[in-house]
């Protein structure tokens, strides 16, 4: 996804992707952005100017903390601090939604999270 299609600047986008990959980190199975959770969020931002404003403000705060370049444990600490804020809740929910909802929403590419869990669509 080229940056030009994003309503975020490069730094905001880098912070978003780094945060999503802490919300659903890689292990034996892919991370959030490896399954397209960033694309899921992009669609959310496209659909609502209110959500876009919330994200821009929240991501700017992460950018000001140098979020994208911090080590994982420091990133986790920051997410923990914002968990109860409006932006934090939205970010975490969207990361989880992108990862576990149907691929038609932009995330969960190849329905890989469903394979991970053992949810099989047979009919």
């Amino acid at each position: 996804m080229p940056t030009s299609e994003w309503p975020l600047d490069d730094q905001q986008l880098a912070a978003l992707r780094a945060a999503l990959d802490r919300i659903v980190p890689a292990d034996d199975w892919p991370s959030a952005t490896e399954l397209g959770c960033d694309e899921f969020v992009r669609r959310r931002l496209e659909a609502s100017s209110e959500v876009l404003a919330l994200y821009r403000e929240g991501l700017d705060r992460l950018v000001s903390q140098g979020f994208a370049a911090l080590p994982g444990h420091a990133q986790d600490e920051i997410i923990g601090e914002i968990e109860a804020t409006r932006f934090g809740r939205e970010l975490i929910e969207n990361g989880i939604e992108g990862y576990y909802a149907d691929p038609g929403n932009g995330g969960n590419r190849g329905a890989q999270s469903w394979k991970m869990m053992g949810f099989e669509v047979r009919g």
């Binding site: 659903v24 199975w29 989880i96 038609g104 991970m116 869990m117 949810f119 669509v121 047979r122």
Partner: protein, 530 residues
């Protein structure tokens, strides 16, 4: 201007049956539906925009824009809410209404559900009352609904005596259902298959259920879920005497307090008028009350006693994977706690749940000690999903007059009419019963071998979405009710209500079979007197 024998406003459960009964008896019927005619192809399987989980919208109406409601929150503040928000208390708005997307649990109410006040007394601050009719009077119409709409299940629960078996055998047994049956047996609890308004075998020219993983909240991909949209409404249309108009919003009931002579409605921006001998309102407990309130019909009780169901539920992890993916998934139930619970009012049925989608599992069923994100959350999702089992049930609401629909002056819909305002909650006694049922659900899961059980404390709040009921209470006393025991609005000659608005109490069960049965009864009696 058009003239019909009857106009039915709302093509959901009650309205669909009413249109069919009247049209097949030779009456001409205009069936008006505000929503669209929908099917699986037009609604799909979006896991975030469906009738089970509607985070960002839903696919089955009402349209997100132009249909607000006002909800009074706990602090007494009015907030304008959208159709896909929880506070809206939505039911699907389309041809078939909720029956297009329901799980379709096909429960009759328990005989004692009709006699709540005389069985338990009336707690202070509640409006608990007996129905003016009993189980016996509704029984033939329950049977008719089971056989004409189509129920799979059996044998029927002995608490609700049946003269005939269900027309279709139960859905296949599942691993979790089998496990829960064994658990109940260990506790000495009797169980039965959950009766479902879906086809376990080919039915009425349509296919049998394919046991897919997306039942409740979605339209059926093979049309094996039986609602009014694929049974009685097509039958009504086949008579040639019923005209169905969708995207038609009724603005006015024409006439005076005693006699309604027709309706005015808006369709595609055009104003239409139709006249009829009889008008039947079946818009669901919130919109039916709103229409009567706007028209000043039905008296002071209209809109009061709004109820639904608070659910008691418990979650568990089994020691090994038990998920077999066999839908619909609600398979085994117990009625041990429907009534007769020491010191409590009423009770409820408990059953296992429909198959749980991954995102619903993530959002609703996470135990308190599992974090909302991060590696532990992901491990939980991976290791717990196929071991997860939940039990739940609708708790009999103890109604309150202060739980109600009024008009929200100043907030209007797309045609400029004041929208519904929802305020109040069910009576707090309901929560005592819910806690007891939650404990029984936990007990059941432990007896079924769960290695870990957890639940969420039920809390008081309005829960009048898909199970909304009570706002046009049935009764013999016009001062204390809105319709008579045959659904006719007190004081009018020809205005009827055919939906859950007329429920005096809402049972400890999913209410749709009662809606269908009452509509058969009301329209049968209407024809008899015509």
């Amino acid at each position: 201007m058009s003239r019909y024998d009857a106009i039915v406003v709302g093509a959901g459960a009650g309205g669909g049956v009413a249109a069919c009964v009247l049209a097949e008896s030779g009456k001409t019927v205009l069936l008006l539906e505000k929503g669209h005619s929908l099917d699986f192809a037009s609604t799909g399987r979006d896991h975030l925009r469906n009738h089970r989980l509607s985070c960002y919208g839903h696919s089955t109406g009402p349209d997100i824009e132009g249909n607000p409601r006002v909800f009074e929150d706990e602090g007494g503040e009015d907030r304008v809410v959208k159709p896909h928000w929880g506070e809206y208390n939505n039911n699907a708005s389309c041809v078939g209404g909720g029956t297009l997307v329901y799980g379709g649990q096909a429960w009759r109410f328990h005989p004692l559900d009709f006699r709540m006040a005389s069985t338990y007394g009336v707690p202070e601050g509640s409006s608990l009352a007996d129905w003016p009719i009993g189980y016996e009077e509704l029984e033939p119409y329950y049977e008719r609904a089971e056989h004409e709409i189509g129920v799979s299940g059996g044998p029927p629960a002995p608490q609700m005596p049946h003269r005939r078996e269900y027309p279709m055998p139960p859905m296949p047994a599942t691993c979790k259902g089998e496990r829960l049956r064994q658990g109940a047996a260990r506790l000495g609890w009797s169980t039965q298959a959950v009766p479902l308004l879906a086809s376990s075998i080919p039915w009425q020219g349509r296919k049998a259920c394919i046991n897919c993983q997306h039942c409740v909240g979605f339209a059926c991909p093979v049309d094996a879920k039986n609602g009014t949209q694929n049974t009685v409404i097509p039958r009504a249309l086949r008579t040639g005497r019923c005209r169905l108009e969708t995207e038609a919003t009724v603005t006015t009931l024409v006439g005076d307090q005693r006699e309604i002579t027709g309706v005015e409605y808006v369709r595609n921006g055009a104003r239409e008028t139709a006249h009829a001998e009889v008008v039947i309102v079946s818009c669901g407990a919130i919109e039916t009350a709103r229409l009567l309130l706007r028209m000043g019909l039905g008296g002071d009780e209209v809109g009061r006693n709004l109820q639904g169901h608070i659910y008691a539920s418990a979650c568990s992890l089994m020691p090994e994977p038990i998920w077999d993916g066999v839908g619909p998934g609600a398979t085994v139930s117990t009625l041990e706690f429907s009534h007769g619970n020491d010191g409590l009012i009423g009770g409820g049925m408990l059953a296992d749940d429909f198959l749980v989608l991954p995102i619903v599992f993530a959002k609703w069923h996470r135990p308190p000690d599992v974090p909302a994100w991060g590696p532990e959350n992901k491990r939980w999702m991976r290791e717990a999903y196929r071991r997860f089992v939940t039990c739940m049930g609708p708790v009999q609401d103890v109604p309150s007059r202060e739980s109600r629909v009024t008009l929200a002056y100043g907030v209007t819909d797309s045609v400029g009419l004041p929208v519904a305002r929802l305020s109040g909650t069910t009576h707090p006694e309901t929560i005592r019963t819910a806690r007891f049922l939650q404990e029984r659900a936990e007990e059941w899961l432990r007896a079924s071998g769960a290695e870990r059980v957890w639940g969420r404390q039920p809390s008081l709040g309005l829960s009048a979405g898909q199970h909304q009921a009570g706002t046009c209470r049935m009764g013999d006393d016009p001062a204390a009710s809105v319709v008579d025991s045959f659904g006719k609005v007190h004081g009018t000659r020809n205005l009827f209500v055919c939906d859950a608005s007329v429920h005096v109490t809402n049972g400890g069960f999913n209410p749709v079979l009662t809606v269908l049965a009452l509509s058969y009864r009301t329209t049968t009696e209407l024809l008899r007197r015509w």
